[in-house]
Symmetry: C2
Subunit: 277 residues, 2 copies
Amino acid sequence: MSGALGIIAGGGELPRAIAASARSTGRAVFVLALAGMTDDWVRDYPHETVALGELGRAMKAFRAHDCRDVTLAGKVQRPKFSEIKLDAKAVFAAPRVIAAALRGDDALLRSVVDMFEREGMRVVGAAEAAPDLIARAGIFGRVQPNAENNSDIALAFKVARAMGEFDVGQAAIVCANLTLAVEAAEGTDAMIARVVNLPEHLRGTKGKLRGVLVKAPKPIQDGKTDLPVIGVHTVRNAHAAALAGIAVEAGGALIVDRDAVVSEADRLGMFLIGVPR
Amino acid sequence: MSGALGIIAGGGELPRAIAASARSTGRAVFVLALAGMTDDWVRDYPHETVALGELGRAMKAFRAHDCRDVTLAGKVQRPKFSEIKLDAKAVFAAPRVIAAALRGDDALLRSVVDMFEREGMRVVGAAEAAPDLIARAGIFGRVQPNAENNSDIALAFKVARAMGEFDVGQAAIVCANLTLAVEAAEGTDAMIARVVNLPEHLRGTKGKLRGVLVKAPKPIQDGKTDLPVIGVHTVRNAHAAALAGIAVEAGGALIVDRDAVVSEADRLGMFLIGVPR
């Protein structure tokens, strides 16, 4: 790795965690905050705020801060194209980006990656920018999955990966071998939330946690873009849905604030596991 | 076909439509209504009401009414096993049914089919019991899908069939090549309803309908059990979610009250299409 790490930061906790991780290794960090999406933590870092579509300005800022490695992280609301102001450089790139956006989220991210690489920057995945966030294999906390959980984990990985083939979602919930929910455009939090609307005998209850949330990377992801992420709020949401635990793909998911995530899971009596592909 | 048609009737409009269809061909019909699930229409037919688990009583009633062909139709709430009273015959069959239920909805239905067949009855699919309900190929009403709709239909079939492989759901919603929703345990109506919670630029609006609902049979279905069904309420729900239309697999879906379904779609400006596999 050379120079500073440039972070194009959307919403949520992931970009902050990447910045903190890189800084903790002694590396300089420069954050390009997306207007209206990035939270206050950017004040702790050299940063500039740009709107979507200000590609020329973004390139200039990264060059000024010696960023040759750039990573994209955090939630970016899918833009309404009519509302984007395109600067001169973006106007030339835009047709490619729009074409990609029409093919799905992952295609959109890849097209942004291509744009930066054509400008001579190296786009690195969160896994490379902050390797200590990557989920390792094994059980993270004190709670062990039981036989039913392990069977549910296996089915949920199959379902999540089958959907990933079509650039749909990255997550599924299975309880007692029945798929309760599959993620699409609504996102993981909304998917978890609807499990409590299902009949009680299909799912866990406060008295008896059952079922698992699985997050797996889309098979078409190249690791440079949108790996699944879990954080403390994921654990809390899953507990509100009376799930017994969470499984992620070892090496294929990011855990933000791992210590807090593990201790929250322990406190709530839930397992956390990284499963090798 | 010989003797009367026996219909094990759950909730919803499908069993009524099958009964009416069979009667319209001059065939005798006997309805076994599931207690608490079947609606009032059964009063128009010779019928008996049984609880889930009363297998011996069901067999006896079918024999008394000369039913050698039996079809299962309508929504059956997944039972809570502790609440089922098993009669003598069912006690022997129960371990198989429970084992099947733990493997998913479709496995559960197949195990019930097996039970009847061991008793010498022929279990026929709705497609055989009421062939005029089967969706044909082609456009049903006055509205044609446009190029975007056709592309969305193709992707939604791929997604729905991929999920069907895992006995998950039978339906998906795609808009402008983005998968908005995938059905799992929540059912089609709840899946459609959540589309309106997505950001407006991802979906249709009252002023401009966009996106399609696709229902496809699970690849593991043998046609004897749970084919996807659409009815007038499906069209109304899809319109409330500002979808442009509905596509089903020709020969692989049932349309209840077809004339009413088509005229409602025409009135709402939505297309309806049966797509050959």
